[in-house]
């Protein structure tokens, strides 16, 4: 297996959000992961960004409620 290329903080941070979004593929993904595993500051940064993402994810979950559900079901029945 090819050894993972060592990258600096700047490069890791450039790709950090894509990495957390699971949008990095192949070697680049490995490089960022490798850097975060070794660098304390980038590890903290990654942890922070991930937690912020998680909090936003919670905010994406609404509460439709029974009344609205009924409205949608009625709508669908009419089709």
């Amino acid at each position: 297996m090819k050894p993972v290329k060592t990258i600096g903080c700047n490069e890791a941070l450039t790709h950090l959000l894509e990495y957390l979004d699971q949008e990095l593929k192949g070697a680049k993904n490995q490089e960022v992961k490798h850097h975060i595993d070794l660098c304390r500051s980038c590890f903290s940064r990654a942890e922070f960004e991930q937690r912020l993402k998680d909090r936003l994810r919670e905010a994406g979950h609404g509460t439709a409620g029974q009344e609205f559900e009924k409205r949608i079901k009625t709508l669908l029945k009419r089709f």
């Binding site: 959000l17 894509e18 979004d21 949008e23 500051s41 903290s44 940064r45 942890e47 922070f48 960004e49 937690r51 912020l52 993402k53 909090r55 936003l56 994810r57 919670e58 905010a59 994406g60 979950h61 609404g62 509460t63 439709a64 609205f68 559900e69 409205r71 949608i72 079901k73 709508l75 669908l76 089709f79």
Partner: protein, 212 residues
């Protein structure tokens, strides 16, 4: 018959996603009334074009794409200021580029005290996040809603917005920087960034006593 054409299957899928659809619609439309109408419109459109859904397991990204399209189409119809929204990708990067909450909050030399950035996230309420998302311009809001609130892949977002994946990537980076800046400004107003410690309280009380 393809299962996507089965009315019962369709209803189960749509009703199962109602909380998420409404959550996304609330942030897009910014109020409950319009959000409900937006979801109703999206479900209606989705039903009408269900033949275009080739794989049953793609239902979620597919209906979110329709929801976003309904929102953006409605926006364009109502648009009194289309130029401001269209030019969002043309704005110079230095306006909101690179802003990072972490960099504002992180204090490496305070590690033994705990981490201010984690404390900040603990204090942040859901409504703080909602307000920050609501403060973004429409096309930034759409990309944040799809990526962060609903967890869609860049390729799906690109399809939803009708832009290349590269545009999604850069728009998302700038939208997030702007979102973090909004959170930061709000946090400063709300005093979230200053952890109240006993020293500050003590000196504050002392100065009040002095005034008496």
């Amino acid at each position: 018959m393809n299962e996507t054409m089965d009315p019962e299957w369709f209803e189960r899928q749509a009703v199962g996603l109602l909380d998420d659809l409404l959550g996304a619609a609330m942030r897009l439309a910014k109020n409950r009334h319009d959000a409900e109408d937006l979801v109703a419109e999206a479900v209606t459109k989705a039903w009408g074009s269900r033949a275009s859904l080739k794989e049953a397991e793609r239902f979620r990204p597919w209906i979110f794409r329709i929801l976003t399209n309904c929102f953006l189409t409605d926006c364009r119809k109502r648009a009194v200021r289309p130029a401001a929204e269209v030019s969002v990708d043309a704005v110079a990067d230095d306006q909101e580029g690179g802003f990072s909450l972490f960099e504002e909050l992180h204090q490496p030399f305070l590690l033994w005290w705990g981490t201010p950035e984690q404390e900040f996230l603990n204090k942040l309420l859901r409504e703080d996040l909602e307000r920050a998302v609501d403060s973004l311009p429409e096309s930034f809001r759409a990309v944040v809603v799809l990526a962060d609130l609903e967890g869609l892949a860049y390729a799906e977002i690109a399809k939803s917005l009708g832009v290349p994946v590269g545009t999604v990537r850069s728009r998302l980076a700038r939208a997030r920087a702007q979102l973090q800046k909004a959170l930061w400004i709000h946090a400063q107003d709300a005093g979230l960034t200053k952890p109240v410690d006993t020293y500050q309280e003590a000196t504050h009380e002392a100065s009040e006593d002095d005034r008496v």
